[in-house]
Symmetry: C2
Subunit: 344 residues, 2 copies
DNA sequence: CCTGGCACTCCCACGTCGTGAGTGCCAGTC
DNA sequence: GACTGGCACTCACGACGTGGGAGTGCCAGG
């Protein structure tokens, strides 16, 4: 059945008012603040229906109504347009991100910016290794039996790892190894490298095999273990403003925030969702402890494909249109900066 | 005047009980739980004196006493010995830290461990660049006009930075530059490098001067700007347990925690305080917002000199002996690991 | 110098109660 | 049939009052 037009207006009004005031909203207040052209009694009838359908609920009898998760969902899907940022805001974002020195700096600035714009907890995932490509691999002799392996990706991310060699090798051997590795790996997507690395050992002179074996072990480790993605976080202060929304205890969110795995599942890009902003409301995600938390996230990257995710966590009662706009904008600008720094 | 022995016992008992129970402690409870060999009336007299001298206070009339900052200070300085950890704990610490792969990993593990042991917010400063020495500098051609400068320090910290060259240079020139830079800088303390870097330009063949100028600029920047120290943080969840101690609002601490500058001032090593554990109680530090917060910190490093600081923040009412023990132990083991990884 | 006793203080938990915002329902109107 | 005004009803919430109990200060006696 097509949902009654006015009923939707009422729901929208309830969501907007509740988000703004943080208090259950009653029929009288609604007709006052929004120019619905009907009386409060009519609104009451609509609200009764909305409640029956599960979009709103009363905290207790004779209190106003508040949206349910289902209500927010409808609001986000149908009733709101992502609020475009003002030109001034856009300029501010751009200016703030432009001064960045390196990848670390970009990520840090982005996450702070996001926290500040949304006044929520912000998370930015570092560009994922597996979805980057190898730009260069360098071997640096630290001592005669120790090499530092430095891998640079196209997103500017640099990984380094110490490698213990089975015996001493001279400078020239190291150079040979370096050349070979770069020949085979440069330009390859990291996801594809494990098989390539495995094949390296067979390509090399007999006397260099032990060294290459050690190296490939280290490389494999980098690709596997180090696949633990890194995260940057900001805006935990904002939790204090919303303490009430989390029925008083900040523990669950603080716990989730410290657990990188949880955050990654929440904001990490799952597929190639492109430039879509994803919204998870309340228990739409898998973490029971975060029942009253919503997650707004999106992917970002230098081109069309995402190399990482970013987003914010906040109470289900949050300003979805603005938050979504901010997340989308920051992701977009970060993508642009990454593209500038690594013309492919 | 020499402080009366029993009065000190009473103060100690008050601190210990208050820390344990989180409630003002009365004269009756004191004589019950600790075997002071006197009556509650006597204890009351002592408490009256202690209060007059400013070591304890009553939240309100007819309530028990709680220690003041001055009381905690006396307790820490005179009345408590750092509680040695059990062998089991020591083994656990060692085992936990031993599996570390690289510096990042050591720091992360250390900070988590510290948070877990003390049940407070833990902070670890990455080994400070200025107090490290250069182990190796590597130049990597990313394109013909771009070099990646990678600096490895004796603490295992790796800094990288992109350098835009004024024109194209061939592989051999880069090698020459690399050799020269390493000759001059390897083994030097980073604090001493600025003057050395400045001198580099004059040492080089005429045709390489423009490149060397760019490089030295980048190096100087690394040393200056990048001197912004990095931090790792863990255990914010523990704040929820102590919410009451911060008169309800976690905002000030959360704010401080996000402000790296503040944290650095609090736990960063100021001088060469050696292996001492430093304790700042309440408003002994400079941040008015953290009046109810104490800071336990110490330096750590591969040898005698500290390359960084670590510590915990918690309510003034905390278990000082245990916390100090944990901080000292973790710092010690981290130092050992750093020493292992970089035999000088 | 210590102790038992006693009067005093005052926080806190608990129960009571009035108030007001908000509702559901119903009869009346366009 | 959809909307409106009116009315009785429901409860959360804050104010107020009260009793109990933990803890203190003081004093006189050992």
């Amino acid at each position: 059945m097509p949902m009654d037009e006015r009923k939707l207006d009422v729901l929208r009004a309830i969501v907007e008012d509740y988000v703004a005031t943080q208090e259950p909203v009653g029929s009288k207040a609604l007709v006052d603040r929004h120019n619905l052209r009907v009386s409060s009694a009519t609104v009451r009838n609509d609200m009764a229906v909305l409640e029956e359908e599960g979009y709103i609920r009363q905290p207790h009898t004779s209190a106003g109504r508040i949206p349910t998760d289902k209500g927010y969902r409808l609001f986000v899907d149908k009733l709101s347009r992502i609020k475009p940022l003002s030109p001034a805001e856009k300029r501010a974002i751009q200016r703030f991100l432009e001064g960045s020195l390196d990848l670390d700096d970009v990520v840090h600035r982005a996450v702070r910016l996001l926290a500040q714009l949304t006044r929520q907890v912000a998370v930015v995932q570092y560009p994922s290794l597996t979805r980057s490509t190898v730009r260069h691999l360098e071997l640096i002799s630290v001592s005669t039996t120790r090499l530092l392996v430095v891998m640079i990706t196209d997103t500017g991310r640099v990984e380094q790892r110490l490698c213990e060699l089975p015996g001493p090798y001279d400078e020239e051997s190291v150079l040979t190894l370096r050349r070979l590795i770069n020949e085979k790996l440069t330009g390859k997507r990291l996801a594809d490298t494990p098989s390539l690395v495995a094949a390296l050992v067979d390509e090399v002179r007999y006397d260099l095999r032990p060294a290459m074996t050690s190296l490939s072990t280290v490389l494999m480790e980098s690709l596997a273990e180090r696949n633990e993605e890194r995260l940057a976080l900001a805006g935990t202060v904002n939790l204090t403003r919303s303490a009430l929304d989390f029925h008083g205890s900040l523990m669950p969110i603080l716990e989730a925030i410290e657990e990188e795995v949880v955050l990654l599942k929440l904001i990490g890009e799952t597929g190639t969702s492109g430039s879509m902003v994803r919204v998870l409301i309340g228990d739409e995600h898998e973490f029971a402890d975060l029942r009253t938390t919503s997650v707004i996230s999106t992917g970002y990257g230098p081109g069309q494909t995402a190399v990482g995710g970013m987003g914010v966590l906040g109470p289900t009662r949050m300003d979805y249109p603005s938050t979504m706009a901010a997340v989308r904008a920051v992701a977009r600008y970060v993508g642009e900066i990454l593209a500038q720094n690594s013309p492919h």
